[in-house]
Amino acid sequence: MSDEFFDRSEFVQYFRDETEELLHAIEADLLRLEQFVDTGSADPEIVNSLFRALHTIKGSAGMLQFTGVAHVAHKLENVFDLLRKDRMPLTESGVNLLFEGRDVLTALVHAAVGGGAEPGGVDEYVARLDAAAGIYDSTAQAIEGPRASDDDDEALVPVDEAEVDAFEAEVARMLADAQRAQSAVDAFLAPGAPSAQPAASATVAPAPPRAAGNGAAKLAKNATIRVDIDRLDLLLNLVGELVINRTRISDIAATLGRELGNEDAATKALATLAKDLSESSALLARTTNEIQESIMKVRMVPIGQVFDRFPRTVRDLAKARGKEIQLEIAGADTDLDKTIVDEVGDPLMHLIRNCVDHGIEPPDVREARGKPRHGTIKLNAYHEGNQIIIEVSDDGGGIDLARVRDKAIRMGVIADADRLSDRETMELIFTPGFSTADNVSDVSGRGVGMDVVKKNILHLKGVFDVDSVPGAGTTFTMKLPLTLAIIQALLVRVAKELYAIPLDAVIESQRIAASDVRTVHGGEVITLRGQVVPLVRIAEFFRLDAPRDPDKVMIVIVGVQGRQVGLVVDSFQGEQEIVIKPLSDVIGRIAGISGATILGNGSISLIIDVHSLIAAAGANRSARVEFSGV
């Protein structure tokens, strides 16, 4: 064994996670503290909270010998000590210096954790801080105190303990159900007297131990533990298996019930058992659903984690641009899957920067237009069905469609003669490399933007939309699924195989006469309520050997981002909840397929990637424009 007493890398990870949270908290506190500038009295709670956060960082950094971090944390801690003892007034320049200190500290932490070189300018900053605070500090001495950290758990997602309790209770219930199902099956398979196992065992109601869990939730509202996300993923996988087997058991029960339809005495006992089995499987189904939901909830984190960093961004950017902007946040406690939370941060940051830079006008311009000098950016999140909607809106100038059009023509994206609807013009901002900004700033306007945002959101199986009213503002809306693991799907049959189409993309299914299919520029289309919809024949797209039906065409209309395509299939096979599994990377990426799922009978169904099929119908945009021009 080595002579190391503890695994340092593990501690470094704790330090990183803990410090990151504290740095977020510090930023939020500083923003609140800023409201008290020049009032002569700062809220002592805020100052104390800042003091404690820095003290904790100092302690942890000291333990890991991150001397740079500990040094700066110590200096900042000193300043807050002066503030809380009312020995130093709170000024605007002072707060700016503290914001800067928080950034210096962040850079130092990143360098320390990543093993990189210490960022430049630290000494110069410390000197300025000393100069500002030194005059008030008569007792320049170290502040000692107990470490505020008690964080020794495996790191990553904070989990509500009450939820874990509820989850455990449900696992217990579910096991009881499984046992009941098992005994019913055992009895069924046992030779001799199958009627020995009466229905009574299946009708004993499971004691619901949930109330205790809920009570505990009220008592200890903020009790959380940290759980490695890999472990949650494993749990989720297992639940996926349960979901599959649940469907399978109900299939078996249904078949059994059907097979035992005829009424002679010998099968009567079996019929009773079949009924037991189906009751048991119904219970199993309910419990499995609840477990699945609980695990989903455990994986859920509030979107506020992402929102937290934006107030600072808006403050700094607005100052740099000479604008007055207020950020209003609503729905920060809206939950969504951890994996999605991790992915939406960058797109949101981009949108917010865009609002500050291009959306909100300078104060004088706003005043001249009869608006308040203060611009407002609103960030709002809420649930709608099984989706989460995140809106970023501003009350700025809106998108100048004429300018977008000019720019698109200059870029060669559209031709001078092209007639586009307002909506189509607006969507040009999603063209790669598109920017209407005349001068490139360090914020946005480099043309890497909206297309990337849109791509990221599509990647999360979300929808991204923009709406704008000239002179009144712009609203960006993203709709994201709450989770990526389990979805509702429409099963369809194509050339003997079953395929699953994610239900959120399905608009409707139609059976139409083959003679209603028309050809426009070599592509097949149908007219649906006056709208021309291009068709993609799945069998042909996948190069499957399937003859066309000469009489009728079965069509699933799918739509993403307002673009619709009709997928031609052989038949519809109903809706079902499916667990998404990736195709093996040995197979690689297959155009038109996003994954696979295992159905109740154990067979595999491939999941259709609606986005790529709509893209495959690619030429449809120009076809549509020309068609409507006829």
Partner: protein
């Protein structure tokens, strides 16, 4: 102390092949394979192995041999290479053999059908010749090439 290698031997046509037993997870009878459209030719599809999706390679097609009808002897050899699990369809599985390391020679230049790229060596057991396969190569390098070429083809 003479070293031996344990291999699972199986047949494709008249030839006998072997893979290191450490890389073999299990051997199954042929089951329904779900076809994956637009995948490379040799990719037979995917199967459900106790809740896991396993890609299936038709080894004959992989080696450029003609496809064969599946019989009651047809087997899927499920292998595990690193973190990747792949099933391979073979005509029949023979037995587990101990091949003395001293009896393994480099692949000769000319071998029936199979590209020497996938061959680890040729083992001699009594009067039988066992072609020892390099599984990692079978599922990685050249497969990537085929994937690329199929993409080129589909883009055309």
């Amino acid at each position: 102390m003479s070293e031996t290698v344990q291999v699972v031997s199986f047949k494709l046509g008249a030839e006998e092949y072997g893979v290191d037993i450490d890389q073999v997870q299990e051997i199954n009878r042929m089951v329904a394979v779900t076809h994956v459209p637009r995948a490379p030719q040799f990719m037979e599809g995917v199967i459900n192995l106790r809740g896991q999706l396993i890609p299936i390679i038709d080894l004959r097609t992989r080696f450029g041999m003609p496809r064969a009808e599946h019989t009651k002897n047809t087997r899927i050899v499920v292998t595990e290479i690193g973190t990747k699990r792949v099933g391979m369809v073979v005509d029949s599985v023979s037995e587990v053999l101990r091949v003395p390391a001293a009896q393994i020679e480099d692949a000769p230049e000319m071998l029936t059908g199979v590209d020497t790229e996938y061959i680890h060596g040729v083992g001699k057991v009594e009067d039988r010749l066992i072609i020892l396969l390099d599984l990692a190569r079978i599922i990685s390098t050249s497969e990537r090439r085929e994937l690329e070429s199929s993409e080129v083809e589909s883009a055309a």
